[in-house]
Each structure stands twice: as structure tokens, then as C-alpha cells.
């Protein structure tokens, strides 16, 4: 126990300040605004769905939980069930084999449903494009609020995109 406590003490708090929301990545804006912040307060529950990604985006979403970004400290929680989620964070070009599962997850969410398409594949199919096996992006399947570019987007960009979807929209 003592080595564990010593390690924790020596490591200290490494968490860094959070970034500002990236307004220029916003896709759907009109109906998202004061209402969301009023409804959600300061906490946000996210259901992440890999809809055929290469796993690169998942690595970077998981990095958000490390002590540097510490998203739980910002009031953001990654949930197991879409029924608890305010936001669907979707990666991958949406493989045909995941399309139905993605729709079911979206249907299961309570209103209002925020959708963030994460990474180049989720934005427009990326390098995989639209094919017999892929839909060519999340917006082909669900209404998308914010699309975050990058392959994969680094953790700060993901956070900026999440905040853009939630934060008050400038008129």
C-alpha cells in the first residue's frame, strides 16, 4: 500500500486546463443552444459507438480519460448504455454491418440527442469512402451536430468538438 500511496504523491496532479469549444466545426446549430445547457446543466453523458473505425479514434477517446485531460473532472462521463446518454460520439465510416446497431443506439437515447461524428471517416467516409460495405459517414445515417476532422483527431480536438456540440451557440 505504501508504494502505491508514494507513487500517487510523487505523481501529483497532472491534469491540464480544458480547451475552448471549436465553433467552426459545428454542422447543425440552430436547435442547439441555451436549451441544451439548461437541460444538461454542467454534466454530459456520452455513449461512444464505433461504427467501423480502425480503432485509432477509440484510442484517442480513451486518452481523454487519462489524468492529463481528466474529462470526468469536467463533468463528462462515458456511459455503457445509450439510454443514459446525452450524446452519441460516433467513429468510423459506418460499416453496413454496424448501420442497424448504430440506429438502434440512437433510437434508444432520450431527447435531445446530440451526435458528434468523430474523425475523417465519420465525417465523410474518409479513406474508406462510400462502398458496398460502408455508408460514407455518420450523416448518411443520423443527423450530425458536430463533425470533428482528423485521422484520428487528437484528444484536445475531440474535447473541442464535444464542447462545440454542447456549448451555447453564439447568435
Amino acid at each position: 500500500m505504501i508504494p502505491i500511496l508514494l507513487k500517487i504523491l510523487r505523481t501529483g496532479i497532472v491534469t491540464e486546463p480544458a480547451p475552448q469549444p471549436r465553433e467552426d466545426w459545428r454542422v447543425r446549430g440552430a436547435q442547439i443552444g441555451d436549451e441544451i445547457l439548461r437541460l444538461l446543466g454542467r454534466a454530459l453523458v456520452i455513449r461512444e459507438v464505433d461504427a467501423g473505425s480502425c480503432n485509432g479514434c477509440e484510442l484517442e477517446v480513451n486518452a481523454l480519460s487519462n489524468p492529463y485531460y481528466n474529462i470526468e473532472g469536467l463533468g463528462i462521463k462515458l456511459a455503457a448504455s445509450p439510454r443514459h446518454a446525452d450524446m452519441l460520439l460516433v467513429t468510423g465510416p459506418v460499416s453496413k454491418n454496424m448501420e442497424e446497431a448504430l440506429r438502434i443506439a440512437y433510437e434508444a437515447m432520450p431527447h435531445p440527442k446530440l451526435v458528434v461524428a468523430l474523425g475523417d471517416c465519420a465525417r465523410d467516409g474518409g479513406i474508406f469512402g462510400a462502398s458496398y460495405a460502408t455508408c460514407g459517414g455518420v450523416s448518411k445515417v443520423l443527423p450530425v451536430d458536430v463533425a470533428v476532422p482528423g485521422c484520428p483527431p487528437p484528444p484536445l480536438a475531440i474535447l473541442e468538438g464535444i464542447l462545440a456540440a454542447v456549448a451555447k451557440r453564439a447568435p
Binding site: K7, S53, C54
Partner: protein, 515 residues
Amino acid sequence: MAIAGLPLSDRRLAGEVPATVARVTPAQWTEAARLVREAGGRLVALWGADRREAGDAFSVYAAYATPDGLSVLDLHVAHPDESYPDLSGLFACANRMQRAVRDLLGLVPDGATDPRPWLRHGAWRPTDYPLRGDFDPEAYRSNAVEAYPFVRVEGDGVHEIAVGPIHAGVIEPGHFRFSVVGEKVLRLEERLGYTHKGIDRRFGDFTVAEGYRLAGRCSGDSTVAYAWAYAQAAESLLAVVVPPRARWLRALMLEAERIANHLGDLGALGNDAAFAFALAQFSRLREDWLRLSNRVFGHRLMMDRVVPGGVAVDVAEEAREAIAAQAACIEREARDLRDIFDEHSGLQDRFITAGRVTPDLARALGLVGLAGRASGQALDLRVDFPVEPYTRLAVRKAVHPAGDVAARVRVRFDELFESLRLVREILAGLPAGEIRVDLPEPRPGAFGVGWVEGWRGEVFVAVEAGEGGRIRRAHAHDPSWQNWPLVEHAIMGNIVPDFPLINKSFNLSYSGPDC
């Protein structure tokens, strides 16, 4: 390279990987499999191609690991209604690969006992074959998901638990069907293919020179391994020799990728045994390492840094010092953490004996890579078939016979420290010179292979050039094809709550084998 005991007119392929390719008859196909199996070799990959556009027939390929290197066999199938000899009786891992070949090309193995689809879930008709030249992607559009007949376990009190494709955490999708009595798992059956992106067909939209970007996105956590294997295949078919400095930088990135993944997994394994401290510590070390990768190579995961002909970025002098300093720091901290792991009785209680794959079972079913080494399978391409710079680095294999979660944790720790040593040695021995050479135009029909020991296991890539520099056919193979069936065995007799821990201890790719 020829298969001992079987005279074949084989051709040695150019390039880093010791490999031959030979056209075989159906009888030789079966005989080769038997001889390789008897000699203790393994089936590395099995895939097919429609080569009618090149004035040829269909081909089914098998790549075997033999004591001399890779032996690629090319079996011509003149007409799609003709079957080819089944290999799954000799190599269990062939089952899913053959089902994928049937889904994508319509070639059916003769005598195979499992007729169920694998990659095809309903998005295309059972009579359509996406890898055939005459496939029309517009002819049928559907997101239908067809029913899949899982094997039922019957008996008093047996019930099923269906998990996925969307799992509880931030991980890739797949379906697990558990048959359980109480908490105890009697049987697990995996249903994968959810992330199938049509990568094999998509390769045809790229030139041989460009395809590395797609290869590097088959499995994002192994982007360096895939891109290097692809580059080897491209350089093999182009007969291009890469400058020494580029080879050393590729190895630097491959070891950096191994370090990043092992750091992530060690934290996640602690976390799955309710030891959140481990996740906080290891994810911090991983983040430090990824930020360093970003500074040195310009990308946190090093995507698109290995290219055919060399590497895309050089490492500056001051960056070498930064890497060496960071490696020393991680080594020091990880040794503290290993001591804490070893002394933590609650953690060891969860790790030891959980999810055991005995060396006999691992050998029989062909477990490879990290998980294979943790079950006594002393296979590591960096040692068995080293390319420069591994020829000079004397990599120590990390092997352990226990085959449980504890062994897979232990192998990760051993490999982490070995890779940190290799990083320092590579930095010290890094030769000066060019990092990239120009590529010639490929000759249509030219064929090459690549074979790289990624952090998870051996990644294999085969590329055939077409007209105008394009890719006629490329196939990238993930070691998870071989290892997924062993997870079904590892969980038997364990309790359901241990599945996440056992699954994580393998940490197999979904996207890679779903291709």
C-alpha cells in the same frame, strides 16, 4: 523456402522477407498443408483473388511459415463453381478465412463443415461477391442483418447471454454469445465482421505507391506494423532496396508502437481487475509517449510515417536525446509499477489462472504473437526472420508457459522493457544517409509480400500490381484471425465477470480481421 518433401517450381521473391511463391495443383495444395503441419509450421494467411481481368482464373492463396521463411502457394480455380480443398481440418484458423473467401469471392472449400457466412451479414446478397471484377455495388442496397445460427448449448439451467455488437466500453464492436450455467461459462461463440469496410476491394482504388495509407488504417493501433508490411510488399514487387537509415527508423517506430500499446494495455488490465490506480499511472505514461511521438514524428500514432521506399520523416539530433530521456523515464516508472503489480495480492488473484490457454492447445490451434508467447509459443519474427536492424539488435523473446492472464501481463512487461532497450540501441546505432528512395512504375502482375512482428503478432500483406501503377489485388492479414478462436477456449470454465479481463489480456483487433 520450398516446403520440405514437396518438389515445387517456386520463385524467390525480391525484398526483405525470405519468401517464395509457387503455383500448385489441388493435390499439392493438400499435401503442402499436411507437410507444413507435420513439420510444425503454421498457416499465416489465406485469401483469394479474381484474376480473370488479367486473362487468368481465380486464385486461392495460402501463406505458410516454414523454417526457411514464407511459402506462398497459389492454387488456380478455373471456374467459380469448382471447389478447392479445405484446409480447416489441418489448420483450424482456416475456417473463418475460408468463409471470408466464400463471402467475398464465392469460392467454396470442398468438405468444409461450416457453411455459415462470416463477413457477410446481409449488406450484400449471398449470390453477389464483392471481390469479383463484375460485382456491381449499386445492384443491391441493404442494411439488413440476417439471422445467424449460433451453436446452442442445451441442458438444465443453461442460458445464453448475448453481448454486442456495441460493447459497454469504448472498444471495437463484435458479438459474443455466452452459454452459461449460473456464473460459469460453458461456451463462448464469437460473431465478428461488424467493422467490415471492404478494404480488399478498396485497395483497387489506389496505386501501389499510395496503398500504404489504407494499409495503415486496417488496425489503427498497429499502423506502423501494417504500413511497414505493406511497404515491404511494395518494395518486394518493385525490387526496391530501402536505405539503411530508413530501415532503422522503421524499427524505431515499430518499437515505439509496441511501447505505446503495452503501456495502454497494462493500465487497462489493472483497471479491469478494479485497480484504477494502474490505469491512471499507465495512461499517463502512454500519453507522455504519444506526445513525444507527435513531436518527433509529427503524429501521435505515427500514421503515414512508413512509406514504400523508406520513411516520411527523419529524426533530428535533439529529438534523439528527447526519446532516450523519455525511454529512461518510462523504464524507471514502469519498474516501480511492476513491483506494485507483483506485490498486489488482489490483482494477482484475478490474473493467475484466469483465461488459461495451455501450450498444447496454443500449438494445436495456432496461437501467435504476444498471446502465443504467453502460452509457450516462442515465435517472434524479429528473432526468427530478422531484417535490418533486428539482425544487429539480438532481440530477446519474451516467452512464458503459463498461458493465463498473469502470463500475458508478464510478457507485456518483459517486452516493454526490451522495446525500451531496443529504442535506445536503435538511437545509438542509427546510420546516416537518405531516408527515402524514388519508386519505379510497377510491372502489371508483379507480386510481393511483407511480414512484420507488430505488437499484437505477425502482420502479413500481399500486393499484386495491375495496369498503370494501380493495385490489382492487395490483402492485409491481422494476427487476430488466428487468435480470436483461442479466446473462445480461454473463457471456458471461467466466470462471466472475468471475461472483460481475459478478453483485454489478448486485446485482439476487430477492424484488422474484419478488413
